[in-house]
């Protein structure tokens, strides 16, 4: 077994272990990408939804306000936007899986 194979094996093991600890979201973004997405949401979504996500021109994006809304609808809102409202589509800047990751974080606790 070569060194790189060994490292790869360790990697697989560790991700498997993580998978056991909590259900993996399909295609959870890599940590560096997560940081970028958090920055995007706080700063650039923040220009309409508020940096603290308490709302502005757009509604608040807090667990309390999103709780009863269907996840797929929220993901589609981010990915495709809502025509006729100022909510723009973000599909040039993220994948649908990344939009789903953002919704998941918004509905639980959005990182600082």
């Amino acid at each position: 077994m070569s060194a790189s194979n060994f490292v790869f094996g360790l990697f697989l093991l560790s991700t498997a272990a993580l998978g056991l600890v909590r259900p993996a979201i399909a295609g959870e973004p890599a940590p560096a990408r997560q940081k970028e997405l958090v920055h995007l949401v706080r700063q650039d979504c923040g220009s309409c939804h508020g940096m603290t996500l308490n709302g502005g021109l757009g509604p608040a994006l807090l667990p309390e306000t999103l709780r009863d809304k269907p996840v797929e609808g929220l993901v589609a809102t981010i990915y495709y936007g809502r025509p006729g409202t100022p909510m723009p589509p973000w599909k040039q800047f993220m994948s649908e899986a990344e939009a789903a990751w953002i919704v998941d974080k918004l509905m639980t606790k959005f990182p600082q």
Partner: protein, 387 residues
């Protein structure tokens, strides 16, 4: 002789011990949006001189000045209204006036500070001295329906003009009697997103998001109502997505023409202010956010919405062309000209600094550290209508 010397010395010492007198004309502040600080700056030294903490959530904060330029009134996103003394370098008073605010204005006579609120939608007037609440005007455009308020501007006669995003109207509220204001309503168009008053205080304009065009109200003849200008400037073409709403405050009227951001297109619209007809459009490198004239009107500087928010385009007004393009930093959110325009300060949010440029030769002449800087406001705003 000795006695006289001693006397002179004593006088000198006295002079040193007394308070150092200074004016406020070359002071200003930088909003540090993430950490609830403001940095106080001197535009002659081009240096910060104090930093003040404890202003709450300053995302999308803005500031106006008392007419003597000594006090800044800062409107925070969390509804906080903070009065800062630029000379004593401290907060004098702070109130939480609403749940969700978007900005504010100060009256012609300097006695009333008005905040515009998203939630609950409406405006609130405060005594500029004490920040005591004087009056409230809820933006109830239909029974039980409240609108977000945008584009608040002070206009002559101790009045304020503003627009209702959800209500599609321009409202003008008269505070001649500060505790009993009266309001007139004018239908404007779909989804006004911001507004401005022209430098002479005569015309109020509200940019429309829900349709192509700008609503224009002549405040000298308000009985004529708001009319639409720049109708169909998109000519039915599909709009580009808008990732940040343009700001009209910080208007640009130069050489008899107004320069306005187009919505959903990468253009600056040029309007003749005598006829209010479109006379040109200038292609730029993104969705314009601020389109601001240098105080002499020779240049118009433009910054952009995400993802082009690292760019600045400079328009030369006589030729109507972009004469300079630059990429001064990451997340350029705002710009402010020195009182007579020889330099411009730009906040580079993601570089955590304010960068200063010479407006003649576009050389970078300085920078100031600031945590996630957004708005930059100089005291020269104190004497301008609409600022």
């Amino acid at each position: 002789m000795r006695l006289i010397l001693a006397f002179v010395l004593a006088l000198l010492l006295n002079a040193c011990a007394g308070p150092q007198l200074r004016g406020t004309g070359d002071l200003g502040l930088v909003i540090e949006r993430a950490s609830g600080h403001v940095t106080l700056v001197n535009t002659t030294a081009r240096q910060p001189y104090a930093r003040i903490a404890g202003l709450g959530d300053l995302s999308h904060a803005s500031a106006v000045y008392s007419r003597d330029g000594r006090y800044a009134y800062i409107f925070g996103r969390d509804g906080g209204l903070t009065k800062v003394d630029l000379l004593a370098e401290k907060i004098v008073k702070r109130v939480i006036q609403s749940g969700n605010a978007i900005g504010g204005s100060i009256s012609q006579d300097g006695r009333i500070v008005v905040a515009q609120n998203y939630a609950p939608g409406g405006i609130k007037a405060f005594d500029a001295e004490t920040l005591e609440l004087l009056a409230e005007v809820p933006a109830e455009y239909a029974p039980g329906q409240f609108s977000k308020v945008v584009g608040l501007a002070d206009v002559p006669g101790n009045k304020f003009a503003y627009a209702l995003f959800d209500g599609g109207e321009i409202w003008v509220t008269d505070f001649s009697n500060p505790r009993a204001p009266t309001t007139r309503r004018y239908p404007a168009g779909q989804q006004p997103y911001d507004g401005l008053v022209t430098p002479d205080g005569r015309h109020y304009m509200a940019g429309l998001f829900g349709e192509d065009g700008v609503a224009l109200l002549d405040l000298w003849q308000p009985e004529k109502g708001a009319r639409k200008i720049l109708e169909n400037y998109g000519r039915g073409q599909e709009k580009l997505p808008v990732f940040k709403m343009p700001h009209l405050r910080g208007w640009s009227v130069a050489q008899g023409k107004a320069y306005l951001p187009a919505i959903g297109r990468h253009e600056v619209l040029v309007v003749d202010v005598a006829t209010w007809q479109e006379v040109g459009r200038i292609p730029v490198r993104g969705q314009p956010v601020f389109v601001m004239a240098r105080p002499d009107g020779r240049q118009v500087w433009v910054n952009f919405a995400f993802p082009d928010n690292g760019r600045i385009d400079v328009i030369d007004t006589p030729s109507g062309k972009v004469v300079h393009r630059m990429d001064p930093g990451k997340g350029i959110l705002h710009m402010e000209f020195a009182p007579r325009g020889e330099n411009v300060w730009l906040s580079a949010r993601d570089d955590n600094k304010v960068v200063i440029y010479d407006t003649e030769n576009f050389a970078r002449i300085g920078e100031i550290p600031a945590a996630s800087p957004s708005g930059i406001f100089f005291t020269s705003r104190a004497t301008r209508i609409g600022f």
